[in-house]
Symmetry: C2
Subunit: 346 residues, 2 copies
Amino acid sequence: MPTQKKRTVTIQDVAKTAGVSVSTVSRVLNGKVDVAGETQERILEIISKLGYTSNLAARSMRSHRKNLLGLVVPDIGFPYSIEVMKGINRAIVESTFDLLVYTTGDIHKTGTILHEQHYVSLLNNSLTDGVIIVASAAAEFITNAPIIAVDPHIINPNYPSVQGTNYHGALDVMEYLISLGHRRIAFICGRPEIGSAERRLKGYREALTQAGIEIDEDLIVPGDFTTAAGHTSALQLLRLKNPPTAIFAANDMSAIGVYQAAEEMGLRIPEDLSVVGFDNITEAKYLGLTTVDQSLSEMGYIATQMLIKMANKETLDVQVHKVPTKLVKRTSCLAVAEMSVAGKQM
Amino acid sequence: MPTQKKRTVTIQDVAKTAGVSVSTVSRVLNGKVDVAGETQERILEIISKLGYTSNLAARSMRSHRKNLLGLVVPDIGFPYSIEVMKGINRAIVESTFDLLVYTTGDIHKTGTILHEQHYVSLLNNSLTDGVIIVASAAAEFITNAPIIAVDPHIINPNYPSVQGTNYHGALDVMEYLISLGHRRIAFICGRPEIGSAERRLKGYREALTQAGIEIDEDLIVPGDFTTAAGHTSALQLLRLKNPPTAIFAANDMSAIGVYQAAEEMGLRIPEDLSVVGFDNITEAKYLGLTTVDQSLSEMGYIATQMLIKMANKETLDVQVHKVPTKLVKRTSCLAVAEMSVAGKQM
DNA sequence: TTGAAAGCGCTAACAG
DNA sequence: CTGTTAGCGCTTTCAA
């Protein structure tokens, strides 16, 4: 392996080479003003000549402000995490903070709540000035530095959080479908342990009640946010004696399952069947399916800004920040594609 | 702010509470066998009661193996980085390593080469067992632990790397376009300082030469991988007295610019104009544009596996690993959308 | 089987 | 303006 030093260059080496004490070097490193110009220059030169880099670990151990934010996310490869990270990224760009993302690659690799708590502590107790936790299942965290949760599973967590308006989004969906003349509208559930999924279901029920449409429990079918489950449940619905004319899926992954099922049954969307999915992050948006955009990226952006405020010891205006959802109506694939190009939504 | 301890719980606190020395606690923490079963249980209990988490910084400073890999990316919000991260994520899941991603959010925030080198050292000299660096511009790195580069700008870097077969991919594109009967094929360049962009251009030229088509330098126009530049250059091309019948864009972002330009000129794709873009990661794939898939995610996957080998002190079979590109022919948006659903490429 | 003590590389008083 | 000194929290000999 080329280009590798045998031993790491430390502040000691720099000090020795420069003929000064380590504290002087440290001062230069930290941009303190009380160093003679000549000394400073010499040290800087030696630093770059030796290829010295300060040891993050040692530095974090001593000083308190690190200008580093942490992000704990179960994986970094799925659309959901990616959307949130886009927003976080934007806020980081605008700030003076850097970002350290910690991931185990897979939520199933290690367990959940315990590990979330562990990683939050790991980062916050040593390296970072605060951490963002995405889709957290834990009810509380032990940490010195501030934390903020994006879309926590718990509805009323014990920590500041950013959440989408899931209930109202569901109301919007139903209002739209009902305005289209639908009376038999089915709902494909999300994972019941997740707060946001339950709010969507609640909105579904409430909208029917308000519209004076009797709730048919046969039209409420299980799901788990996957395309496979959406597919299965949609088939079940479409084979009913009295099938629904519209299906509201708890997320866009499930909606794609519905799309597949409709295709297999030879049904056309939206002529024969209206399909709406919550979320707007997967290929559903290219299939002409109407979706609810809860702007995950916006949630990441706002969360980061809130965290930075906390790291700067400013107080927060609200403990729970709500990001509004938006119904995105679509009719065909081509229309979408052209729209996204015209709007330069790259 | 609720749920926050005033002071971080340290190994000292655990030791004191358990009535043992810190070294005993440390032994338990590190799974050493020479601890009495009874003592171990008691300590474990106290650890969880106190909510103790070991300080990553302090730990890293003393021990050498950290089971942690680093990733340095200029940003985590752009399609390019995201694709690579998907593959890295997959490899991490399969391994015993965790991943720490370091980003400044934006390549322009801080500078480039110097900062890349800095971050690599930062991670590798303290926290991680090795780092992956994406789209690196630096020619060399000073680091103790191993590094691997994904798609480095430099063609022959001084460190192990994973690269796409850019030259051959370009050859494939040209073969395809020529087989369609095109003779006037234009090329929109990428950033000239980037090795992979230059290889694509080289492939373009070589293919023309081999096909006995004279190279018209007017058909080779500048670009910088952005949609805007692709748009401008495409307009320039299409307004030529003798315009091209096909355009090969150095990446898919530029290809979208071409798509926009064609639309403005009232040209239909592919009837009036064939468009091919290198890369397969943006919405280009939903616009019916033919693209070259260089499987960035595969590159991330392989790089991670190579890095793990190095971290385990195994030797590498090759210093430069080539990941083959693949031409993805498309004719219309709908076809693609259906294809991707049928294939369940979520 | 356990404890005491020596640092890892760094920053932050405190003197000078 | 600069050096001395004392740890940060942890792992790791070395003794007991």
